[in-house]
């Protein structure tokens, strides 16, 4: 587990952050200028903060009190930069194998495994100048993986890409998170990327950590979820595919109860990550009848939080937190209060395929 505590003064603001990043993908979320890149640069050893204590398990990477500063090349931390930073004088293959020259490890099989995973086999003899942005970013990813890092840092690896290119890379990141077992520290200001990828979230603002913890918790907590942007507020559920019905619906079991989604292209037994946006959840005080929505879940109101122009209602459905965003008027007229049993109405379409990730287990 990576443990970070650092303080660094800039001309116009002070960074003072501390958090822990367990295995999985930890998203460092915040607006530009909140100090995220400074944090990852300190972890990589590219920046020496005024005060820092950064450890990874037993290994001390930086300890300003103890006078310890491991140089970047001895940290074993892979770094995928926003601007791929491929070496222009080397071919794609040489770029990929760059780390092998120094770690002294490397097998043909490994190269072809990573090349297959990233789908860059056809590019091996090209030079970076002849690659598209998405291709460059995939090669940079492969180069970092092949240097045998104990951890991977990614600084907005998708920020410079358009949506189709993002969609091209996201599946590889999910595969990396779930298959390689490599801890990842992922800097982003995109709520969509956080929702899709993160297992742990660290919310940063003006050089401070506002909240941190497991993604499902942060995203379903009315106090922290709006920091990701109100439109993107929503709970994350882990679901398992139970069956594919003949009429084109997929039957999923979740802690909140069974859900039905339009055909999910994955085998029975596969685990999925679902995201239910708060604005797509309606609340009914009596079991709704004659309604087109397929997914109606009994739940109990845990709390209500004011959120600009509305109310965020946290529901407890069989231990699973679900968020709903409604107007203050509805909250009043339905007499919603903590402890009240209600029904959460989720439109089946509210669980968009784009937000389905494949998670381990």
């Amino acid at each position: 587990m990576l443990s970070v505590a650092l303080r660094h003064r800039f001309a116009d603001f002070t960074l003072d952050a501390a958090f822990e990043a367990p295995d999985g993908l930890t998203a460092l979320f915040g607006h530009s200028g909140s100090g995220k890149t400074t944090v990852v640069n300190a972890v990589a050893g590219l920046l020496r903060p005024h005060f820092a204590c950064i450890t990874d398990g037993d290994a001390v990477l930086t300890d300003s009190e103890g006078g310890i500063f491991l140089p970047p090349h001895r940290r074993g931390i892979g770094y995928v930069f926003q601007d791929a930073r491929l070496f222009p004088h080397l071919t794609v293959r040489q770029n990929l194998l760059f780390g092998h020259w120094f770690t002294g490890r490397g097998r043909k099989a490994e190269l072809s495994r990573v090349v297959d995973m990233l789908g860059i086999g056809a590019l091996l003899s090209r030079r970076p100048a002849a690659l598209s942005g998405g291709e460059r970013q995939r090669v940079a990813l492969g180069r970092a993986i092949l240097s045998h890092p104990r951890m991977l840092l990614m600084d907005e690896p998708l920020a410079s890409l358009d949506q189709p290119r993002k969609d091209e890379i996201l599946p590889y990141l999910e595969r990396l998170r779930d298959q390689a077992g490599l801890p990842i520290l992922y800097v982003t200001h995109s709520p969509a990327e956080v929702a899709r990828l993160a297992t742990t979230i660290v919310l940063m603002d003006h050089g401070r950590v506002r909240a941190s913890g497991p993604a499902a918790q942060i995203m379903s907590n009315p106090a922290t979820a709006p920091m990701l942007g109100l439109a993107d507020t929503g709970a994350i559920l882990t679901a398992r595919i139970r069956g594919q019905d003949a009429d084109g619906l997929t039957w999923l079991s979740t802690p909140a109860g069974p859900l039905f989604l339009p055909q999910v292209a994955a085998p029975v037994g596969r685990s999925l990550r679902l995201r239910i946006l708060a604005q797509d959840v309606m609340i009914a005080t009596v079991p709704p009848q004659g309604i087109s929505a397929l997914n109606v879940i009994p739940a109990i109101i845990r709390d209500l939080t004011d959120a600009e122009g509305g109310v965020l209602v946290r529901l407890d459905a069989g231990g699973q937190a679900i968020l709903s965003r409604i107007t203050a008027r509805s909250a009043r007229s339905l007499d919603l209060h903590p402890g009240k049993p209600v029904h959460a109405v989720l439109k089946a379409v509210s669980v968009a395929p784009g937000t389905i990730g494949f998670s381990a287990g």
């Binding site: 090349h73 930069f81 070496f87 760059f98 780390g99 020259w101 240097s147």
Partner: protein, 231 residues
Amino acid sequence: MADWLTPEAWQAIRLSLKVSLWATLASLPFGILVAYILARWRFPGHGLLNGLVHLPLVLPPVVTGYLLLLTFGRRGWVGQWLDQVGIVLAFRWTGAALAAAIMAFPLMVRAIRLSVEAVDPRLEQAASTLGASRPWVFLTVTLPLILPGILAGAILAFAKAMGDFGATITFVSNIPGQTQTVPSAIYAFLQVPGGESAAARLVLAAIAVALGALFLSEWLSRAVARRIGGA
């Protein structure tokens, strides 16, 4: 063809090529080092080092030659010490190479420094996160990327070394077969009545050598640019 130039002239051309080649090759590692330091490090004395390197460019060459004589002559403070280990520079072709190297050094450093400044330090950072230590980062990333600048600096230095007259003649004199380079030989021809035609031929030969070097450098740098930036 061989008769067209006097044996003395041939000797001068051969010596000039030898002196310039050695001057360039021997000073190249120092040129790269100094250029890298000037481009990348900020330290007290940065301006002083920069000024020192550029001094031969702004001093009268005779002054540079005289300073070399004071320093590296047999009684000079470095020359004395070199004399004891059996190395003599004054009035030898090696001294001519030293004078040429000193005169050419500023041009070499300027060209290489420009190319070092053009290298994105973020590429070097990326290399270090991949496990490369400082020296390896330099050898595998920086050096290949500044190769065109090194080449340009070397060619420029070679041309300057071929042409030096003042510092050379002051430091190592004008001894045929020993220290008489092409410029010194032209000067010597012009001192003798009726030597104009021999001087003119040597001038033509010098122009041919210079043009040849230029073409070679063009071709080399284009080949290197293709290798580095090419698709």
